[in-house]
Subunit: 337 residues, 2 copies
DNA sequence: AGATACTCAGAAAACGTATTCTTAGGGTAA
DNA sequence: TTACCCTAAGAATACGTTTTCTGAGTATCT
């Protein structure tokens, strides 16, 4: 009755159980308390009052939240949920909670979110960070344990776990070249995306090796972008299209269908990421698959290491590989033939 | 040097600026401080030391976190990111942070997550909760402001914002009936889903009205489920398939393609939710569209009301409507004709 | 000119918890 | 039997912040 509406505290429980707050705390946290009757009294009082420990006060006292924050550029991209599930798998197993935030592909918002999360979390996972190198420097100054996925940073005490996208790109190019393609278009991702630079470099290296021409046009990371930009590529006489990711490929496929161009008879399409829907499309999408779940698991494991010793930051790289489905085939026979 | 590695506190700033901690706090929070030189000293000291206020301590002191937690059954379902973006839109505008958690369609995990979030947040949004009514009672006992989407609860002080799915279902049935369909199959969602019951009821009511037969088989909420279960429906002589959601429809479409059945010539397919990929499929999916973004915005607005007065809990319902694309058409002419 | 009101910044308290410190009591050993 | 040690639980403290309280100095009004 003393405090009409506010939550009961250890003090209330102590008073009700005729014990000290220290005893209440000890009982409720499983510390050794000798007198069984006392233990029972405290337990009963806590249950009676519906006592729930104040999480914020507890975290404050401990100086630790057992919570990990993760920032993704766009939750609507089906790539990330798989990574998140991997992360959750690893982190909840070690009694950590997972807090997810979406920055909408906005580098400033991303920095802001990291700032806020860093105050409430013990560590942070940055998925495919879009922010500038300067911003990453700022974040490093905050000294919070952090691991980046899909981006390697130089000279910063961050763990990184990335994808060897050149590997998959090489396989894609070789697959297309073997089918007879000599002119490949690339629908590039957001300029702020580190992944895009890696994929593009891998593509160009493999293309040069196999003597195939590559035409690059800027698209983005969404189906809409792929849908809008695809025609630019058609004007450049390519017989196959590689997309920055599956979403972009999906948009390209839709546009090709509207244009009456059959895939793969008239033109081949290759995606990247192997998002869950890719296999269900018609035609099923040939794409580069990456170990998304593992990516999350590895990021979680690395972050846990960083939690015990900040100096353990390492860089890791996971493989990628082409999975051939129905959206690729030989180029159409030249009309002049 | 006193504290070698730990973060600087107001105390450090005060000492460095030769001011009191009260003054430091006032300056840093924009409270009135008269002496400009003092203000400058404090600001300079804070910048110099790289002082960042301890968020947990601040939240503890305030008893408020300005943070909203949201639990979704499955982030991999493209329905939810749209809702989340609506929520974020509303909530960040009112200076609230958004914390997202994924319970993997597990009702127990869902309850657990709500318990954890409730300790760190001022309010919670439960998206399409899968937990039992008893569990909801437990949550109600915790007394945290909460709003449910896609589920209406009786006698609990929760706000709810749902979808009038009967509306869309009626339109879907009428559309199919007008095309000549008399036998419709329904790929039902998870049994724990309140939405499924609503959609099923709407479907059955509309079907009875229009004199069409409806066959129900249990599927789930994933493409995989739709892919696996679809054949069961084919044995029951239906000419059109309604799916619990677009993901299930996607799986059904893939299975039909494998079976060599043309959509919509041989069979029609209708989804639910209108997830972003639906429009990009081949054939583009006829589906029931729901105002996902609005759903999030309304949930956010309602929760903000609850934050100021717990008694303001209201129930709201948003419309749904059919969007006709390419996956529906007249039933095939009877072979016997 | 004197007293009162007001302003400004420092001192101190409070939030709820976990834990260290303290004290009282009992048991054991010399 | 006394002294010492150990145990068990209560008292007190600290975590970092915000805010109320307080006291001193200045200005204003009569």
């Amino acid at each position: 009755m003393n405090s009409p509406r506010s939550r009961p505290t250890v003090f209330d429980v102590a008073r009700s159980a005729q014990a000290s707050i220290a005893t209440v705390s000890r009982v409720l946290n499983g510390r050794a308390v000798a007198d069984q009757a006392l233990v029972d009294r405290v337990r009963a009082a806590a249950r009676e009052l519906g006592y729930r420990p104040n999480t914020v006060a507890r975290d404050f006292r401990h100086g630790v939240t057992r919570t990990i924050g993760v920032v993704v550029p766009d939750l609507a991209n089906p790539f990330f949920p798989d990574v998140l599930k991997g992360l959750a798998h690893d982190l909840t197993a070690s009694d950590h909670r997972l807090l997810i935030a979406d920055c909408n592909e906005d580098p400033d918002e991303e920095l802001r979110l990291v700032g806020e999360l860093s105050g409430r979390c013990d560590g942070i996972v940055l998925c495919s960070p879009r922010m500038s190198t300067q911003s990453l420097d700022v974040v490093a100054g905050w000294g919070i344990p952090l691991v980046c996925t899909n981006r390697e940073v130089e000279g910063l005490p961050f763990g990184t776990v990335g994808i060897d996208s050149a590997m998959g790109m090489r396989q894609a190019v070789e697959h297309l070249a073997a089918l007879g393609h000599r002119d490949i278009g690339y629908l590039a991702g957001p300029s702020s995306s580190w992944s895009d630079r890696g994929r593009r470099a891998g593509l160009e290296a493999a293309a040069q090796e196999r003597g195939v021409r590559v035409v690059i046009v800027g698209a983005g990371s969404t189906s809409h972008a792929g849908h809008v930009v695809l025609p630019e590529l058609l004007n450049r006489n390519v017989t196959a299209v590689l997309a920055f990711n599956d979403l972009v490929a999906l948009g390209a496929l839709a546009r090709l269908r509207e244009l009456g161009l059959d895939v793969p008879a008239a033109i081949s399409v290759v995606g990247f990421d192997d998002i869950p829907v890719a296999a269900f499309l018609g035609p099923a999408l040939t794409t580069v698959t990456v170990p998304k779940h593992d990516l999350g698991v590895r990021a979680g494991a690395m972050l846990r290491q960083l939690l015990v010793d900040r100096a353990l930051a390492r860089r890791e790289r996971l493989p990628s590989s082409l999975v051939v489905r129905e959206s690729t085939g030989p180029p159409p026979r030249d009309i002049a033939t």
